[in-house]
């Protein structure tokens, strides 16, 4: 297998005039997409920009569009995504491209904060540590979403994000949902206000691309559905008061 060459196309955007975009990369066993990109940068074109850190699917920094699908490249075998022996690798969708395969993640993280994806503590260091019941339904709901690695794959997969620049996106809304269900978090009103505004959970059309492509098998679509229910309940309750 090692003798075979892979035909890799790198989508370097409209400013790539004169830059090489097609590369022949020697195929190897157990080769990830990130291995391929790294090979290109180390052996063919040192100017190629991309981003990675941990290489084991924990840091969430290496996500790219691979064959039109957002993926974590360090945990994606190239053999799984090849069309014949070719594939196109591009920067994540829905985020501004800095250069080549590196995107500006600022909008993604800004929305994380805008969705109140921050801890709203109610205790001080002098209080005893709160006991968390791992079997409580709310805790089970929260646990379902806490393994998010902020890779932005769901954000890149979402057509609602493409259509509405203000939409907070699946990852941020899912974090809001986990915090809403977290017994230690006391930001309920702030979270519900943040996720029910113009860019909030009600923009979601339940297309399900977030859930379909989450590399950690999380389910942001259902988390957003939970937010829709809670914001609606809270709306009717406030109306009665």
């Amino acid at each position: 297998m090692a003798a075979e060459a892979l035909k890799i196309t790198i989508d370097r955007g409209p400013n790539a005039q004169g830059l090489q975009t097609e590369f022949e990369v020697p195929a190897q066993d157990n080769q990830t997409v990130l291995d391929v990109v790294s090979w290109i940068q180390q052996n063919a074109d040192p100017t190629l920009s991309y981003r990675f850190a941990c290489r084991v699917g924990m840091c969430g920094s290496c996500a790219m569009m691979v064959g039109g699908v957002p993926r974590w490249t360090c945990r994606t075998h190239i053999s799984k995504v090849l069309d014949g022996n070719a594939v196109t690798i591009g920067p994540l969708r829905n985020l501004p491209v800095i250069k080549d395969l590196a995107v500006d993640m600022d909008p993604f993280f800004d929305k994380w904060v805008a969705a109140e994806g921050v801890h709203h503590g109610g205790l001080t260091r002098d209080d005893p540590i709160a006991v968390v019941d791992e079997t409580a339904p709310a805790r089970v709901e929260a646990n379902a979403g806490i393994e998010c690695i902020n890779c932005s794959v769901c954000y890149a997969a979402c057509d609602t994000v493409t259509g509405n620049a203000d939409y907070l996106g699946p990852a941020a809304l899912q974090r809001a949902w986990t915090l809403l269900n977290d017994a230690k978090d006391e930001g309920r009103v702030a979270i519900l206000d943040a996720v029910s505004g113009n860019g909030g959970c009600h923009n979601c059309h339940s297309m399900g691309s977030c859930t379909a492509y989450c590399p950690n098998d999380l389910d942001p679509m259902s988390a957003i559905a939970g937010l829709k229910r809670e914001t609606a309940k809270s709306f009717f309750k406030r109306g009665r008061r």
């Binding site: 955007g13 339940s206 399900g208 559905a225």
Partner: protein, 117 residues
């Protein structure tokens, strides 16, 4: 832009269920004014309405009716699916539900079609 070129990330059942729901809704919205216009003839011009109703015996109209019932069924089940998904705290595979909704819609449309011909 090259970013929108070749987005294959839409090729999954839930996205297809979403687009089917939207397109069937649009098509039904376009059909409704025509529907009401024909119905209004019952009051304004009954003879012309009878002429119109004779058209329903034509094969092409029967095929169109099949499409109409399919759109109605698909839109109704798609809407029920969406409401169930968003209002009932279900976690199990919605994909199965979406596929089942489409299958039931198709079944109803086929039954209607068989009866019509």
């Amino acid at each position: 832009m090259s970013m929108t070129k070749g987005i294959t990330s839409r090729a999954h059942p839930l996205w297809l269920a979403y687009i089917l729901h939207r397109v069937s809704g649009l098509a039904l919205a376009l059909f409704l004014p025509l529907h009401f216009w024909v119905l209004a003839m019952a009051v304004s011009d009954p003879a012309r309405l009878d002429g119109f109703l004779h058209l329903t015996e034509a094969a092409v109209v029967k095929v169109a009716e099949f499409g109409l019932v399919f759109l109605l069924a698909v839109h109704m089940f798609g809407g029920l699916r969406l409401m169930a998904m968003e209002w009932l705290p279900w976690t199990p595979p919605q994909k199965t539900l979406a596929a089942a909704a489409t299958a039931v819609s198709f079944l109803i449309a086929v039954l209607f079609f068989m009866k019509a011909i």
